[in-house]
């Protein structure tokens, strides 16, 4: 992967604010002067189903990540990170929320939801940059679960490889979120940021 390119795969469950988060990153990238393309899936894929977006920063035309080329996977839900691992290589930064959302169908099926600590440990054994984050706690502390996506965005921005400055991201956040919620969202963002910043 070339020096100026950066690919992010963002995944989670419908309704978690994934598209908004991705748009904020994309807009910040544009304001920084880089090229950026992004892919999102709407429609039937929502209603509690898995949702993902893909962002490619740099000299790309296509907006879908090739397998095993993500520089970062930002997961809003731990099992969705597992589902997205076909996009990862050993050096991919895995930043993800540790609170599970158990699929509704699971209760009446024979499958079970994997143990979260076991998932985290397995990921750490296989990948070099694993950052589990208690995003729900930060969102709650900031004032509302609705700020979960901004807490996780903060964590993503804090990792070493992330190509865009914190200030530009916050500027794009303000441009995309209702003003009366700026304070709460920035608080969530900072909590998520500090949790990962070394």
């Amino acid at each position: 992967m070339s020096e100026n390119n950066y690919s992010i795969y963002i995944c989670g469950v419908g309704g978690q604010g994934i598209i908004k988060t991705s748009t904020i990153i994309g807009e910040a990238v544009m304001n920084e002067g880089y090229n950026v393309v992004m892919s999102e899936i709407h429609g039937m894929s929502q209603r509690g189903g898995s949702v993902s977006t893909e962002l490619k920063i740099g000299d790309f035309k296509s907006s879908i990540l090739e397998n095993h080329t993500a520089d970062m996977i930002l997961g809003f839900e731990p099992s969705e990170v597992i589902r997205g691992l076909h996009k990862a290589n050993k050096d991919t930064y895995l930043v993800f929320n540790t609170t599970p959302i158990v699929p509704a169908q699971l209760a009446s099926s024979k499958q079970s939801y994997p143990n979260v600590d076991f998932m985290i440990n397995s990921l750490k054994q296989n990948f070099n940059n694993v950052h589990p984050v208690d995003g729900n706690a930060y969102a709650k502390e900031a004032g509302s679960m609705l700020s979960l996506n901004m807490a996780l965005l903060g964590s993503a921005v804090a990792v070493k490889s992330f190509p865009i400055s914190k200030d530009l991201i916050i500027e794009a956040m303000k441009n995309n979120l209702k003003e009366k919620f700026h304070k709460m969202n920035i608080k969530a963002f900072e909590l998520g940021y500090n949790a990962v910043k070394q």
Partner: protein, 633 residues
């Protein structure tokens, strides 16, 4: 970004836009006056945005009853001199096709663009048909944008071209173009056609000319001839279109790649990354095919790759040019199996095809994982979409099962004809109330057929918006031809699956103004259904009893299960339900038979997710132990 920027943005402004947002800006720049649609993924956001900004942009906008009506609203506006725009998902064009195919015959005066969003890989559709076939069927030019900037630019180009040729123009997107976000630079806004009127949009004028506009046999042969001549003539000029371009990366390249739409993006990235010495012909205006340009590009090549989604259409055009000119150059595409004929492409799929033909090794990127992780991946539970917590469709499906049980009718003996909407999710366990489906409105026509051809009981399920879209005509058919089946109209007071657009059953129109509310009950009565009832599906006993009565009815029964979608703006949530653990026996009936996403079992205890629960109380009504309780409002 606020949508007002799409109206107020100035030339040179750069925004990070969705393909569908870029389409709206393109329409505004082109001086659009009238737009009509029926919502359908992946084109729906265009209508959602227009409904918000239409008045500020001087545009008349409506959510039409179906795509055919939308096509007719656009065609008549364009023939009256205004610029008009209709847009739909690919299967929407099937509905509109009867009028669409004749729009080339009668032509337009103002520019008319038909944006059709295909859905390769069927993310949210019933098939992956390729709209470009329709362009050939109807002799209508087709543009294929690859990214949001091209969507915007081709909208403007398409309107200008349509006005120049005096026929409509198709813009064919795919899910990955409509739902791609990219940087879009704005252009100038052109003046609208027509003259100012007392409305917020300009008015045009229809100049009568029955010979040109009424395709009775005496006229239509001549209309067809004029259209064919026009397209033949234009095919010589399409080579010069700014959207058909040769991209030369190496003067000596003997490999040529011809590609369009999102497929161009993938092959361009792979050729660059894998250092393949190849030049490109990017086709943005792919019908009529620019034969001269294709010949010019291919004549000195050793081999050609054609990369397109879904059908091998450009590929056949290329083979035609080869045949007509007596050339002998191998063409690698879908016909020789280099690339698949189904689903959307991506870089990995394109690389597989290229490397197989060119015989180069691809980088092995996958790596060995630990056994633990492989096990987690293998056993990972799926996460399919579900009906929302509190969704009244769930209550209806439950009530139907319950009524069948009480009437001692086995569910296996009932054919459930389903339709297109959120409620198609009734196919899933534990409901399993979807056995057959063809298209919008088909549940009622299918009910007619099954009731004639089998001795099984038939129940059709259709949403309110889908009923207005194409359910009324088959209902009339059912009553008139004395069929016997039960239609349930799942009236959740919105077009839900596509994101909550109004429909004729609501007292509001596409621009947010008051509008007459059309009664489904009165339509059913006027159609001579012999049993018509409106029920509140959140009242389980009433609903079950009504179905049991319908089972006794001889003829067409219509049950309108009326209860608003929980995603509607302003939906009134009731206090959430909680579990009384003194009464809950852990029988798991709620989980096994209701499968509400707000109810789960954690550490062997039934738990209700308090933020998800809407207080619909269906779980309270089904629990025979009184294990659920709800606070008073």
């Amino acid at each position: 970004m606020g949508y007002e920027q799409l109206v107020n943005g100035k030339k040179g402004d750069k925004l990070f836009l969705l393909g569908n947002e870029a389409a709206v800006r393109g329409a505004i720049e082109a001086g659009l006056s009238v737009a009509a649609t029926y919502p359908g993924t992946p084109s729906s956001e265009i209508g959602n945005i227009l409904s918000v900004i239409a008045k500020d942009a001087g545009i008349y906008f409506e959510f039409s009853t179906n795509e055919k009506v939308a096509m007719e609203v656009a065609a008549t506006s364009a023939v009256s001199g205004l610029r008009s725009f209709t847009f739909m998902k690919h299967v929407g064009l099937n509905v509109a096709a009867d009028s669409f195919v004749t729009t080339g015959y009668s032509g337009v005066k103002g520019g008319m663009v038909i944006l059709v969003a295909d859905d390769p890989s069927v993310f949210s559709s019933q098939n992956e048909q390729d709209t470009r076939n329709y362009a050939r069927l109807a002799n209508i030019p087709v543009l294929e944008p690859s990214n949001p900037q091209e969507v915007k630019d081709m909208m403007v180009y398409g309107f200008n071209l349509s006005e120049e040729l005096e026929i409509p123009v198709i813009i064919r997107t795919t899910t990955r173009v409509s739902h791609m976000r990219g940087i879009v630079e704005f252009g100038d806004i052109q003046k609208q056609n027509g003259k100012e009127s007392e409305n917020h949009w300009n008015t045009g004028h229809f100049d009568k000319n029955p010979e040109a506009y009424v395709p009775v046999p005496a006229n239509s042969a001549g209309m067809h001839e004029r259209l064919v001549d026009k397209i033949d003539d234009f095919s010589k000029k399409s080579a010069k279109s700014e959207f058909n371009k040769i991209i030369t990366t190496s003067e000596n390249a003997k490999i040529g790649v011809i590609a369009s739409s999102s497929a161009f993006n993938y092959v361009y990235d792979v050729v660059n990354e894998d250092n393949i010495e190849a030049n490109f012909l990017k086709l943005g205006l792919s019908y009529p095919a620019p034969n001269d340009l294709i010949l010019d590009f291919i004549k000195d090549l050793d081999q050609i790759f054609v990369v397109e989604e879904v059908d091998p259409i450009i590929e056949r055009d290329v083979l035609l040019v080869i045949g007509l000119n007596g050339l002998s150059i191998p063409v690698h595409g879908k016909i020789d199996g280099t690339f698949p004929k189904i689903k959307e492409f991506n870089c990995d799929i394109v690389r597989k095809g290229l490397s197989k033909v060119l015989g180069y090794e691809t980088e092995k990127r996958c790596f060995a994982k630990t056994e633990d992780l492989n096990k987690i991946i293998e056993n990972l539970p799926g996460r399919a979409p579900t009906l929302c917590a509190g969704c009244s469709h769930r209550a209806t499906y439950y009530a139907v099962k319950q009524a069948l049980k009480e009437a001692k009718i086995s569910q296996d003996d009932v054919i459930f004809a389903s339709d297109i909407g959120c409620y198609t999710l009734g196919i899933n366990a534990p409901y399993r109330e979807a056995d057959y489906l063809l298209s919008m409105g088909s549940s009622i026509g299918d009910g007619c057929g099954f009731s004639v051809s089998t001795d099984q009981m038939v129940m059709s399920f259709i949403g309110d918006s889908t009923f207005f879209h194409s359910g009324v005509a088959p209902l009339i058919n059912g009553a008139h031809n004395k069929h016997k089946f039960i239609v349930t109209v799942l009236d959740n007071r919105i077009t839900a699956m596509t994101g909550g657009q109004p429909n004729p059953g609501m007292p509001i129109d596409g621009m947010g103004d008051e509008a007459p509310e059309i009664s489904i009950r009165e339509l059913a009565k006027a159609s001579k259904a012999s049993f018509v009832r409106v029920v509140n599906p959140l009242n389980l006993k009433q609903t079950v009893d009504t179905y049991k009565k319908a089972f006794e009815n001889d003829g067409v029964s219509v049950i309108i299960a009326k209860s608003p979608c929980t995603l509607i703006k302003g939906f009134h949530k009731k206090p959430p339900v909680h579990v009384n653990y003194d009464k809950c026996t852990n029988c798991d009936t709620c989980i096994n038979e209701l499968a509400c996403p707000a109810i789960s079992k954690i550490n062997d205890k039934i738990v209700v997710n308090q933020s998800m629960c809407t207080g619909c109380s269906i779980c309270m009504q089904i629990c025979q132990y009184g294990g659920f309780e709800q606070a008073q409002e």
